[in-house]
Protein backbone atom coordinates (compact mmCIF):
# COMPACT_ATOMS: atom_id res chain seq x y z
CA UNK A 1 0.00 0.00 0.00
CA UNK A 2 1.31 3.39 -0.97
CA UNK A 3 2.05 6.10 1.55
CA UNK A 4 0.14 9.26 0.83
CA UNK A 5 1.24 12.84 1.42
CA UNK A 6 -0.23 16.32 1.09
CA UNK A 7 1.64 18.51 -1.36
CA UNK A 8 -0.74 21.39 -1.94
CA UNK A 9 -3.36 23.33 -0.01
CA UNK A 10 -5.90 25.92 -1.09
CA UNK A 11 -8.48 27.59 1.15
CA UNK A 12 -11.14 30.28 1.00
CA UNK A 13 -12.94 30.88 4.27
CA UNK A 14 -14.71 33.40 6.47
CA UNK A 15 -11.41 34.07 8.24
CA UNK A 16 -9.48 34.71 5.09
CA UNK A 17 -8.79 33.67 1.54
CA UNK A 18 -5.59 31.90 0.65
CA UNK A 19 -4.01 29.38 2.99
CA UNK A 20 -1.53 31.84 4.50
CA UNK A 21 -4.15 34.46 5.38
CA UNK A 22 -6.47 31.72 6.57
CA UNK A 23 -3.84 30.28 8.85
CA UNK A 24 -2.59 33.58 10.17
CA UNK A 25 -6.11 34.67 11.11
CA UNK A 26 -7.17 31.29 12.43
CA UNK A 27 -4.18 30.95 14.74
CA UNK A 28 -4.69 34.55 15.87
CA UNK A 29 -8.20 33.63 17.02
CA UNK A 30 -9.97 35.91 14.56
CA UNK A 31 -13.69 35.45 14.18
CA UNK A 32 -14.99 35.39 10.64
CA UNK A 33 -18.63 35.70 11.70
CA UNK A 34 -20.75 38.77 11.20
CA UNK A 35 -24.06 40.06 9.90
CA UNK A 36 -25.19 38.38 6.69
CA UNK A 37 -24.67 40.65 3.69
CA UNK A 38 -25.06 38.19 0.83
CA UNK A 39 -28.84 38.59 0.92
CA UNK A 40 -31.35 40.62 2.88
CA UNK A 41 -31.60 38.60 6.07
CA UNK A 42 -33.14 41.42 8.08
CA UNK A 43 -36.46 39.61 8.48
CA UNK A 44 -34.95 36.22 9.23
CA UNK A 45 -34.78 34.73 12.73
CA UNK A 46 -31.08 34.15 12.06
CA UNK A 47 -29.19 37.09 10.58
CA UNK A 48 -25.56 36.12 11.07
CA UNK A 49 -23.12 33.94 9.22
CA UNK A 50 -19.52 33.39 8.25
CA UNK A 51 -19.07 34.93 4.82
CA UNK A 52 -16.08 34.67 2.54
CA UNK A 53 -15.06 38.27 2.03
CA UNK A 54 -13.38 40.05 -0.79
CA UNK A 55 -13.25 37.24 -3.30
CA UNK A 56 -12.91 38.76 -6.75
CA UNK A 57 -15.30 36.63 -8.75
CA UNK A 58 -14.81 38.62 -11.95
CA UNK A 59 -11.10 38.00 -11.76
CA UNK A 60 -11.68 34.32 -11.10
CA UNK A 61 -14.12 34.22 -13.97
CA UNK A 62 -11.43 35.42 -16.35
CA UNK A 63 -9.26 32.48 -15.37
CA UNK A 64 -12.14 30.00 -15.52
CA UNK A 65 -14.06 30.96 -18.65
CA UNK A 66 -15.83 27.57 -18.54
CA UNK A 67 -17.73 28.85 -15.56
CA UNK A 68 -18.24 32.39 -16.82
CA UNK A 69 -22.00 32.50 -16.36
CA UNK A 70 -22.08 30.38 -13.26
CA UNK A 71 -24.47 31.79 -10.69
CA UNK A 72 -23.75 29.26 -8.01
CA UNK A 73 -21.45 30.83 -5.44
CA UNK A 74 -20.33 27.45 -4.12
CA UNK A 75 -18.74 26.66 -7.47
CA UNK A 76 -16.64 29.82 -7.31
CA UNK A 77 -15.48 29.11 -3.78
CA UNK A 78 -14.37 25.69 -4.90
CA UNK A 79 -12.58 26.97 -7.98
CA UNK A 80 -10.64 29.53 -5.95
CA UNK A 81 -9.51 26.93 -3.44
CA UNK A 82 -8.63 24.31 -6.03
CA UNK A 83 -6.69 26.82 -8.08
CA UNK A 84 -4.54 27.71 -5.10
CA UNK A 85 -3.96 24.08 -4.13
CA UNK A 86 -2.84 23.02 -7.59
CA UNK A 87 -0.55 26.01 -7.97
CA UNK A 88 0.87 25.28 -4.53
CA UNK A 89 1.66 21.72 -5.51
CA UNK A 90 3.21 22.78 -8.78
CA UNK A 91 0.38 21.43 -10.95
CA UNK A 92 -1.03 24.70 -12.26
CA UNK A 93 -0.07 23.66 -15.78
CA UNK A 94 0.73 20.10 -15.00
CA UNK A 95 -0.40 16.84 -16.50
CA UNK A 96 -3.37 15.70 -14.50
CA UNK A 97 -4.85 13.30 -17.03
CA UNK A 98 -4.40 10.35 -14.71
CA UNK A 99 -5.22 12.25 -11.55
CA UNK A 100 -8.41 11.62 -9.63
CA UNK A 101 -10.75 14.35 -8.48
CA UNK A 102 -12.84 13.95 -5.33
CA UNK A 103 -15.27 16.78 -4.68
CA UNK A 104 -17.50 17.20 -1.65
CA UNK A 105 -20.70 19.19 -2.11
CA UNK A 106 -23.76 20.04 -0.08
CA UNK A 107 -27.27 20.80 -1.08
CA UNK A 108 -28.61 22.30 -4.25
CA UNK A 109 -32.27 23.13 -4.61
CA UNK A 110 -32.88 25.88 -7.14
CA UNK A 111 -32.60 29.61 -7.44
CA UNK A 112 -35.68 30.98 -5.72
CA UNK A 113 -35.56 34.07 -7.88
CA UNK A 114 -36.23 31.86 -10.89
CA UNK A 115 -39.25 30.25 -9.36
CA UNK A 116 -41.16 32.98 -7.59
CA UNK A 117 -42.37 34.44 -10.85
CA UNK A 118 -44.57 31.39 -11.13
CA UNK A 119 -45.80 31.74 -7.57
CA UNK A 120 -48.97 33.61 -8.37
CA UNK A 121 -50.28 30.86 -10.60
CA UNK A 122 -52.45 28.08 -9.24
CA UNK A 123 -50.52 25.49 -11.22
CA UNK A 124 -47.06 26.59 -10.29
CA UNK A 125 -45.34 23.82 -12.13
CA UNK A 126 -46.95 24.55 -15.46
CA UNK A 127 -46.32 28.25 -14.99
CA UNK A 128 -42.71 27.57 -14.21
CA UNK A 129 -42.18 25.43 -17.27
CA UNK A 130 -43.80 27.96 -19.56
CA UNK A 131 -41.85 30.77 -17.98
CA UNK A 132 -38.42 29.24 -18.04
CA UNK A 133 -38.17 26.93 -20.98
CA UNK A 134 -38.76 29.22 -23.93
CA UNK A 135 -35.79 31.30 -22.82
CA UNK A 136 -33.03 29.08 -24.15
CA UNK A 137 -30.25 31.39 -23.08
CA UNK A 138 -31.27 31.24 -19.47
CA UNK A 139 -28.97 29.72 -16.90
CA UNK A 140 -30.32 26.53 -15.36
CA UNK A 141 -32.44 27.00 -12.27
CA UNK A 142 -30.62 24.19 -10.57
CA UNK A 143 -26.88 23.65 -10.66
CA UNK A 144 -26.06 19.96 -10.82
CA UNK A 145 -23.95 18.97 -7.85
CA UNK A 146 -21.19 17.69 -10.13
CA UNK A 147 -20.77 21.13 -11.70
CA UNK A 148 -17.68 22.02 -9.68
CA UNK A 149 -16.11 18.67 -10.50
CA UNK A 150 -16.85 19.10 -14.19
CA UNK A 151 -15.44 22.60 -14.37
CA UNK A 152 -12.28 21.61 -12.51
CA UNK A 153 -11.98 18.41 -14.47
CA UNK A 154 -12.36 20.14 -17.82
CA UNK A 155 -10.19 23.10 -16.93
CA UNK A 156 -7.28 21.09 -15.59
CA UNK A 157 -7.71 18.07 -17.81
CA UNK A 158 -8.40 15.60 -15.00
CA UNK A 159 -9.46 12.22 -16.31
CA UNK A 160 -8.58 9.73 -13.61
CA UNK A 161 -12.10 9.76 -12.21
CA UNK A 162 -14.31 12.65 -11.04
CA UNK A 163 -16.20 11.81 -7.86
CA UNK A 164 -18.96 13.97 -6.43
CA UNK A 165 -19.81 13.21 -2.82
CA UNK A 166 -22.88 14.85 -1.31
CA UNK A 167 -22.68 13.45 2.22
CA UNK A 168 -23.61 16.76 3.91
CA UNK A 169 -21.35 17.78 6.78
CA UNK A 170 -19.17 14.69 6.34
CA UNK A 171 -18.54 15.25 2.63
CA UNK A 172 -15.45 17.43 3.00
CA UNK A 173 -13.70 14.80 5.08
CA UNK A 174 -15.00 11.81 3.15
CA UNK A 175 -13.51 13.01 -0.12
CA UNK A 176 -10.08 13.19 1.46
CA UNK A 177 -10.52 9.71 2.87
CA UNK A 178 -11.65 8.35 -0.48
CA UNK A 179 -8.77 10.04 -2.28
CA UNK A 180 -6.50 8.44 0.31
CA UNK A 181 -7.86 5.02 -0.62
CA UNK A 182 -7.50 5.69 -4.34
CA UNK A 183 -3.85 6.57 -3.84
CA UNK A 184 -3.09 3.82 -1.34
CA UNK A 185 -4.46 1.23 -3.72
CA UNK A 186 -2.64 2.60 -6.73
CA UNK A 187 -5.65 3.70 -8.75
CA UNK A 188 -3.86 6.99 -9.29
CA UNK A 189 -0.69 8.72 -8.15
CA UNK A 190 -2.15 12.20 -7.69
CA UNK A 191 -5.54 13.28 -6.42
CA UNK A 192 -7.20 16.64 -5.91
CA UNK A 193 -9.62 16.32 -3.02
CA UNK A 194 -11.73 18.95 -1.39
CA UNK A 195 -15.06 20.59 -0.99
CA UNK A 196 -16.95 23.86 -1.24
CA UNK A 197 -20.26 24.98 0.15
CA UNK A 198 -22.34 28.03 0.81
CA UNK A 199 -25.52 27.79 2.79
CA UNK A 200 -25.67 31.57 3.11
CA UNK A 201 -28.77 31.98 1.03
CA UNK A 202 -32.44 32.20 2.03
CA UNK A 203 -33.12 28.50 1.64
CA UNK A 204 -29.98 27.43 3.48
CA UNK A 205 -30.31 29.81 6.39
CA UNK A 206 -34.07 29.40 6.46
CA UNK A 207 -34.03 25.61 6.37
CA UNK A 208 -31.42 25.27 9.09
CA UNK A 209 -33.06 27.90 11.27
CA UNK A 210 -36.26 25.84 11.25
CA UNK A 211 -34.30 22.96 12.73
CA UNK A 212 -33.33 25.18 15.65
CA UNK A 213 -29.66 24.32 15.37
CA UNK A 214 -28.56 27.88 14.66
CA UNK A 215 -27.63 30.56 17.15
CA UNK A 216 -30.02 33.53 17.17
CA UNK A 217 -27.53 35.88 18.83
CA UNK A 218 -27.80 38.24 15.94
CA UNK A 219 -26.45 41.21 17.87
CA UNK A 220 -23.20 39.50 18.80
CA UNK A 221 -22.14 37.36 15.83
CA UNK A 222 -18.50 37.00 16.72
CA UNK A 223 -19.24 35.19 19.96
CA UNK A 224 -22.35 33.38 18.76
CA UNK A 225 -20.56 30.12 17.98
CA UNK A 226 -19.19 28.82 21.28
CA UNK A 227 -18.11 25.20 20.93
CA UNK A 228 -17.81 23.41 24.27
CA UNK A 229 -18.93 26.45 26.24
CA UNK A 230 -21.62 25.89 28.87
CA UNK A 231 -23.79 28.64 27.37
CA UNK A 232 -23.58 27.42 23.77
CA UNK A 233 -26.92 27.46 22.03
CA UNK A 234 -26.35 26.74 18.38
CA UNK A 235 -24.01 26.86 15.46
CA UNK A 236 -23.55 29.60 12.87
CA UNK A 237 -23.62 28.83 9.16
CA UNK A 238 -20.54 29.68 7.15
CA UNK A 239 -19.29 29.20 3.63
CA UNK A 240 -15.96 28.28 2.17
CA UNK A 241 -13.88 25.87 0.20
CA UNK A 242 -10.67 23.94 0.58
CA UNK A 243 -8.74 21.54 -1.59
CA UNK A 244 -5.73 19.39 -0.86
CA UNK A 245 -3.42 17.91 -3.44
CA UNK A 246 -2.60 14.38 -2.35
CA UNK A 247 0.09 12.23 -3.91
CA UNK A 248 1.72 8.92 -3.30
CA UNK A 249 4.99 9.49 -1.55
CA UNK A 250 6.87 7.90 -4.44
CA UNK A 251 5.30 10.24 -6.94
CA UNK A 252 6.01 13.28 -4.78
CA UNK A 253 9.63 12.23 -4.35
CA UNK A 254 10.00 11.61 -8.05
CA UNK A 255 8.90 15.18 -8.60
CA UNK A 256 11.71 16.29 -6.33
CA UNK A 257 9.85 16.66 -3.12
CA UNK A 258 11.40 17.30 0.18
CA UNK A 259 9.85 18.31 3.44
CA UNK A 260 9.53 22.05 3.15
CA UNK A 261 11.76 23.82 5.59
CA UNK A 262 9.65 25.42 8.25
CA UNK A 263 9.51 29.15 7.72
CA UNK A 264 8.11 31.03 10.68
CA UNK A 265 6.77 33.84 8.53
CA UNK A 266 5.30 32.26 5.49
CA UNK A 267 4.24 29.11 3.84
CA UNK A 268 4.84 29.96 0.19
CA UNK A 269 6.67 27.52 -1.91
CA UNK A 270 8.83 29.57 -4.24
CA UNK A 271 9.90 26.62 -6.28
CA UNK A 272 6.53 26.00 -7.82
CA UNK A 273 7.49 22.98 -9.82
CA UNK A 274 8.87 20.99 -6.91
CA UNK A 275 6.59 19.43 -4.43
CA UNK A 276 6.76 20.38 -0.81
CA UNK A 277 5.37 17.80 1.52
CA UNK A 278 3.11 19.27 4.16
CA UNK A 279 2.15 16.13 5.99
CA UNK A 280 1.18 12.54 5.56
CA UNK A 281 -2.35 11.18 5.49
CA UNK A 282 -2.25 8.22 7.84
CA UNK A 283 -5.76 6.95 8.11
CA UNK A 284 -9.49 7.29 7.49
CA UNK A 285 -12.49 5.89 9.29
CA UNK A 286 -16.15 6.30 8.34
CA UNK A 287 -19.32 5.16 10.07
CA UNK A 288 -23.04 5.80 10.24
CA UNK A 289 -25.13 6.43 13.36
CA UNK A 290 -28.11 4.49 11.98
CA UNK A 291 -29.92 5.69 15.07
CA UNK A 292 -32.46 8.45 14.65
CA UNK A 293 -33.07 11.08 12.07
CA UNK A 294 -32.34 14.26 13.98
CA UNK A 295 -30.63 13.17 17.18
CA UNK A 296 -27.11 11.76 17.47
CA UNK A 297 -26.82 8.55 19.45
CA UNK A 298 -26.20 9.85 22.99
CA UNK A 299 -23.11 7.76 23.57
CA UNK A 300 -21.62 8.93 20.32
CA UNK A 301 -21.36 5.37 19.09
CA UNK A 302 -21.01 6.44 15.46
CA UNK A 303 -18.32 9.00 16.30
CA UNK A 304 -16.48 6.44 18.42
CA UNK A 305 -16.54 3.96 15.56
CA UNK A 306 -15.25 6.44 12.97
CA UNK A 307 -12.37 7.54 15.20
CA UNK A 308 -11.51 4.00 16.23
CA UNK A 309 -11.42 2.89 12.61
CA UNK A 310 -9.24 5.84 11.64
CA UNK A 311 -6.75 4.89 14.34
CA UNK A 312 -6.77 1.25 13.32
CA UNK A 313 -6.39 2.26 9.70
CA UNK A 314 -3.34 4.31 10.58
CA UNK A 315 -1.98 1.63 12.87
CA UNK A 316 -1.86 4.06 15.77
CA UNK A 317 -2.62 3.65 19.45
CA UNK A 318 -4.56 6.31 21.39
CA UNK A 319 -1.33 7.43 23.09
CA UNK A 320 -0.01 8.36 19.68
CA UNK A 321 -2.71 10.94 18.96
CA UNK A 322 -1.34 14.39 19.71
CA UNK A 323 -4.23 16.69 18.86
CA UNK A 324 -7.93 16.54 17.98
CA UNK A 325 -9.36 18.91 15.39
CA UNK A 326 -12.96 18.59 16.58
CA UNK A 327 -16.21 18.76 14.67
CA UNK A 328 -17.16 21.18 17.48
CA UNK A 329 -20.24 22.89 16.05
CA UNK A 330 -21.36 24.72 19.18
CA UNK A 331 -24.73 22.97 19.36
CA UNK A 332 -25.67 21.71 22.82
CA UNK A 333 -25.88 18.09 21.65
CA UNK A 334 -22.85 17.72 19.40
CA UNK A 335 -20.20 19.05 21.72
CA UNK A 336 -21.21 16.93 24.68
CA UNK A 337 -21.51 13.78 22.59
CA UNK A 338 -18.24 14.45 20.80
CA UNK A 339 -16.43 15.00 24.10
CA UNK A 340 -17.75 11.70 25.44
CA UNK A 341 -16.76 9.94 22.24
CA UNK A 342 -13.24 11.37 22.21
CA UNK A 343 -12.79 10.23 25.79
CA UNK A 344 -14.02 6.77 24.97
CA UNK A 345 -11.65 6.37 22.05
CA UNK A 346 -8.58 8.02 23.51
CA UNK A 347 -9.04 7.20 27.19
CA UNK A 348 -6.62 9.08 29.40
CA UNK A 349 -4.86 10.54 26.41
CA UNK A 350 -7.93 12.69 25.70
CA UNK A 351 -7.19 14.88 28.71
CA UNK A 352 -3.57 15.45 27.85
CA UNK A 353 -3.86 16.77 24.31
CA UNK A 354 -5.36 19.88 22.72
CA UNK A 355 -8.89 19.51 21.32
CA UNK A 356 -9.84 22.53 19.25
CA UNK A 357 -12.83 23.74 17.24
CA UNK A 358 -12.16 25.64 14.04
CA UNK A 359 -15.90 26.32 13.70
CA UNK A 360 -15.67 28.74 16.64
CA UNK A 361 -14.19 31.12 14.08
CA UNK A 362 -15.41 29.93 10.70
CA UNK A 363 -18.86 28.76 11.64
CA UNK A 364 -20.21 25.56 10.13
CA UNK A 365 -19.46 25.45 6.44
CA UNK A 366 -21.44 22.23 6.03
CA UNK A 367 -19.88 20.26 3.14
CA UNK A 368 -16.80 22.47 3.10
CA UNK A 369 -16.01 22.15 6.79
CA UNK A 370 -14.38 18.76 6.64
CA UNK A 371 -12.00 19.94 3.95
CA UNK A 372 -11.18 23.30 5.54
CA UNK A 373 -10.57 21.55 8.84
CA UNK A 374 -8.36 18.98 7.13
CA UNK A 375 -6.32 21.88 5.77
CA UNK A 376 -6.09 23.24 9.31
CA UNK A 377 -4.94 19.86 10.63
CA UNK A 378 -2.21 19.70 8.02
CA UNK A 379 -1.13 23.25 8.76
CA UNK A 380 -1.06 22.47 12.48
CA UNK A 381 1.51 19.78 11.79
CA UNK A 382 3.41 21.87 9.31
CA UNK A 383 3.70 25.07 11.34
CA UNK A 384 3.69 23.67 14.86
CA UNK A 385 0.69 25.70 16.02
CA UNK A 386 -2.73 24.61 17.25
CA UNK A 387 -5.39 27.30 16.64
CA UNK A 388 -7.53 28.27 19.62
CA UNK A 389 -11.17 27.56 20.28
CA UNK A 390 -12.49 31.07 20.76
CA UNK A 391 -15.52 32.18 22.79
CA UNK A 392 -15.00 29.51 25.41
CA UNK A 393 -15.55 31.46 28.63
CA UNK A 394 -17.74 29.24 30.80
CA UNK A 395 -16.57 25.67 31.18
CA UNK A 396 -19.25 23.02 30.86
CA UNK A 397 -18.91 20.09 33.27
CA UNK A 398 -19.81 17.77 30.40
CA UNK A 399 -17.05 19.22 28.23
CA UNK A 400 -13.94 19.02 30.33
CA UNK A 401 -11.09 18.54 27.90
CA UNK A 402 -8.38 21.01 26.95
CA UNK A 403 -10.06 22.98 24.19
CA UNK A 404 -7.20 25.47 23.74
CA UNK A 405 -9.38 28.32 24.94
CA UNK A 406 -6.42 30.39 25.98
CA UNK A 407 -5.04 31.22 22.57
CA UNK A 408 -2.90 29.44 19.98
CA UNK A 409 -0.68 26.73 21.34
CA UNK A 410 2.79 25.74 20.20
CA UNK A 411 2.70 22.16 19.03
CA UNK A 412 5.42 19.66 18.39
CA UNK A 413 3.11 16.71 18.12
CA UNK A 414 3.23 14.21 15.27
CA UNK A 415 -0.40 13.43 14.64
CA UNK A 416 -3.77 15.19 14.38
CA UNK A 417 -7.15 13.46 14.42
CA UNK A 418 -9.84 15.45 12.57
CA UNK A 419 -13.56 14.75 13.01
CA UNK A 420 -16.61 15.50 10.87
CA UNK A 421 -20.03 14.30 11.94
CA UNK A 422 -22.77 14.81 9.41
CA UNK A 423 -26.44 15.55 9.37
CA UNK A 424 -28.12 12.26 8.70
CA UNK A 425 -25.61 10.35 10.79
CA UNK A 426 -22.59 10.01 8.51
CA UNK A 427 -19.32 10.29 10.45
CA UNK A 428 -15.78 10.64 9.17
CA UNK A 429 -12.43 10.79 10.96
CA UNK A 430 -9.06 11.48 9.36
CA UNK A 431 -5.61 11.05 10.81
CA UNK A 432 -2.78 13.24 9.60
CA UNK A 433 0.84 12.81 10.58
CA UNK A 434 4.01 14.76 10.44
CA UNK A 435 5.83 13.52 7.39
CA UNK A 436 8.87 11.58 8.48
CA UNK A 437 10.95 9.63 6.06
Amino acid sequence: MNRVVVTGIGVVSPVGNGRETFWRNLTAGTSGLGPITLFDASAFPVRIGGEVKGLDLADLGRRFPEAARERDRKVWLGLAAAEEALADAGFANGDLREAALHVGVGLEVFFLEDVTAAATEADMGRALARLILPDAGREPLQTPLDRLGQVLGDHYGIFGGRYTNCSACAAGAQVIGEALRDLQEGNCAVALAGAADSMLNPLGVGGFSLLRVLSTENDRPQTACRPFDASREGTVLGEGGAFLVLETLDHARARGARLAVARPRGLSNPRATRAAIYAEVLGYGASMDAFRVSDPEPGGRGAVLAMTKALADAGLRPEEVDCVNAHGTGTPKNDAVETAAVKEVLGDRARRIPVHAVKSMTGHMIAASGAVEAAAAVLTLRTGTVPPTINLRTPDPECDLDYVADGPRPFDGRTVLANSFGFGGQNAALLFGRYER
Binding site: L211, E233, S294, D295, P332
Partner: protein, 137 residues
Protein backbone atom coordinates in the same frame (compact mmCIF):
# COMPACT_ATOMS: atom_id res chain seq x y z
CA UNK B 1 -62.17 25.00 24.07
CA UNK B 2 -62.13 22.56 26.93
CA UNK B 3 -59.10 20.57 27.90
CA UNK B 4 -60.72 17.44 26.53
CA UNK B 5 -61.53 19.06 23.20
CA UNK B 6 -57.99 20.27 22.84
CA UNK B 7 -56.63 16.86 23.73
CA UNK B 8 -58.82 15.22 21.11
CA UNK B 9 -57.56 17.55 18.42
CA UNK B 10 -53.99 17.20 19.59
CA UNK B 11 -53.83 13.41 19.80
CA UNK B 12 -53.84 12.76 16.03
CA UNK B 13 -51.05 15.30 15.61
CA UNK B 14 -49.03 13.50 18.26
CA UNK B 15 -49.68 10.24 16.48
CA UNK B 16 -48.46 11.75 13.24
CA UNK B 17 -45.14 12.86 14.66
CA UNK B 18 -44.48 9.91 16.96
CA UNK B 19 -46.10 7.04 15.13
CA UNK B 20 -47.77 6.00 18.40
CA UNK B 21 -51.46 5.07 17.93
CA UNK B 22 -53.93 7.59 19.43
CA UNK B 23 -55.33 5.06 21.94
CA UNK B 24 -51.93 4.90 23.63
CA UNK B 25 -51.52 8.65 23.99
CA UNK B 26 -52.57 10.03 27.37
CA UNK B 27 -52.31 13.40 29.09
CA UNK B 28 -49.42 12.09 31.17
CA UNK B 29 -47.45 10.64 28.27
CA UNK B 30 -43.95 12.08 28.22
CA UNK B 31 -43.30 12.71 24.56
CA UNK B 32 -39.61 11.90 24.50
CA UNK B 33 -39.40 8.98 26.88
CA UNK B 34 -42.88 7.41 26.55
CA UNK B 35 -43.66 8.19 22.93
CA UNK B 36 -40.14 8.09 21.48
CA UNK B 37 -40.21 11.62 20.13
CA UNK B 38 -36.91 13.04 18.92
CA UNK B 39 -35.96 16.70 18.31
CA UNK B 40 -37.48 16.92 14.85
CA UNK B 41 -40.73 15.40 16.11
CA UNK B 42 -41.12 18.10 18.76
CA UNK B 43 -40.40 20.84 16.23
CA UNK B 44 -42.84 19.29 13.80
CA UNK B 45 -45.49 19.00 16.51
CA UNK B 46 -45.13 22.68 17.40
CA UNK B 47 -45.64 23.61 13.78
CA UNK B 48 -48.66 21.34 13.36
CA UNK B 49 -50.21 22.71 16.55
CA UNK B 50 -49.69 26.26 15.33
CA UNK B 51 -51.41 25.46 12.05
CA UNK B 52 -54.23 23.49 13.66
CA UNK B 53 -55.06 25.98 16.38
CA UNK B 54 -53.97 29.24 14.77
CA UNK B 55 -51.54 30.09 17.56
CA UNK B 56 -47.81 30.79 17.73
CA UNK B 57 -45.39 28.76 19.82
CA UNK B 58 -42.02 30.37 20.43
CA UNK B 59 -38.77 28.49 20.04
CA UNK B 60 -37.98 28.36 23.73
CA UNK B 61 -41.50 28.97 24.96
CA UNK B 62 -40.94 28.08 28.58
CA UNK B 63 -37.44 29.42 28.87
CA UNK B 64 -38.68 32.79 27.65
CA UNK B 65 -41.49 32.79 30.21
CA UNK B 66 -39.16 31.87 33.04
CA UNK B 67 -36.55 34.44 32.09
CA UNK B 68 -39.29 37.06 32.17
CA UNK B 69 -40.26 35.98 35.68
CA UNK B 70 -36.73 36.25 37.04
CA UNK B 71 -35.64 39.60 35.60
CA UNK B 72 -32.10 40.23 36.66
CA UNK B 73 -31.96 36.70 37.99
CA UNK B 74 -29.65 34.08 36.62
CA UNK B 75 -31.21 31.40 34.46
CA UNK B 76 -28.30 29.04 34.23
CA UNK B 77 -24.84 28.67 35.68
CA UNK B 78 -22.13 26.50 34.13
CA UNK B 79 -24.73 25.06 31.83
CA UNK B 80 -27.12 23.99 34.60
CA UNK B 81 -30.36 25.72 35.51
CA UNK B 82 -30.26 27.72 38.73
CA UNK B 83 -32.52 27.02 41.71
CA UNK B 84 -34.43 30.15 40.81
CA UNK B 85 -35.01 28.96 37.28
CA UNK B 86 -35.96 25.46 38.42
CA UNK B 87 -38.51 26.89 40.84
CA UNK B 88 -40.09 29.02 38.14
CA UNK B 89 -40.13 26.10 35.73
CA UNK B 90 -41.95 23.96 38.28
CA UNK B 91 -44.61 26.65 38.44
CA UNK B 92 -44.71 27.14 34.69
CA UNK B 93 -45.09 23.42 34.05
CA UNK B 94 -47.21 21.92 36.83
CA UNK B 95 -47.95 18.99 34.56
CA UNK B 96 -44.42 17.71 35.04
CA UNK B 97 -43.45 15.99 38.28
CA UNK B 98 -41.69 18.66 40.36
CA UNK B 99 -38.84 16.35 41.25
CA UNK B 100 -37.83 16.28 37.60
CA UNK B 101 -36.72 19.90 37.92
CA UNK B 102 -33.72 18.85 39.91
CA UNK B 103 -30.31 20.49 40.28
CA UNK B 104 -28.09 19.51 37.40
CA UNK B 105 -30.88 19.88 34.84
CA UNK B 106 -29.77 21.70 31.72
CA UNK B 107 -31.79 23.97 29.46
CA UNK B 108 -31.36 21.50 26.64
CA UNK B 109 -32.99 18.79 28.77
CA UNK B 110 -36.32 20.60 29.11
CA UNK B 111 -37.86 19.18 25.92
CA UNK B 112 -37.36 15.68 27.27
CA UNK B 113 -39.67 16.46 30.20
CA UNK B 114 -42.64 17.67 28.18
CA UNK B 115 -45.87 15.76 28.56
CA UNK B 116 -48.98 15.90 26.39
CA UNK B 117 -50.68 17.81 29.22
CA UNK B 118 -48.04 20.56 28.96
CA UNK B 119 -48.97 21.07 25.33
CA UNK B 120 -52.71 20.91 25.99
CA UNK B 121 -52.48 23.63 28.62
CA UNK B 122 -50.13 25.67 26.48
CA UNK B 123 -52.69 25.60 23.68
CA UNK B 124 -55.43 26.48 26.12
CA UNK B 125 -53.50 29.49 27.43
CA UNK B 126 -52.76 30.72 23.93
CA UNK B 127 -56.36 30.34 22.81
CA UNK B 128 -57.52 32.20 25.92
CA UNK B 129 -55.10 35.01 25.06
CA UNK B 130 -56.72 35.28 21.66
CA UNK B 131 -60.15 35.47 23.21
CA UNK B 132 -59.05 38.19 25.60
CA UNK B 133 -57.86 40.19 22.66
CA UNK B 134 -54.53 40.10 20.93
CA UNK B 135 -51.68 41.69 22.81
CA UNK B 136 -49.72 42.12 19.61
CA UNK B 137 -51.35 43.52 16.52
Amino acid sequence: MTEQEIFERLAPLITEVTGIPPETVTMDSVLVTDLGAESIDLLDLSFLIEEAFGITIEANEFEAQVRERIPGGVYERSGCLTEEALAELREAMPEVEPRRFAPGLRAADIPSLLTVAVFVHLVQRKLDQHVEGPVHA
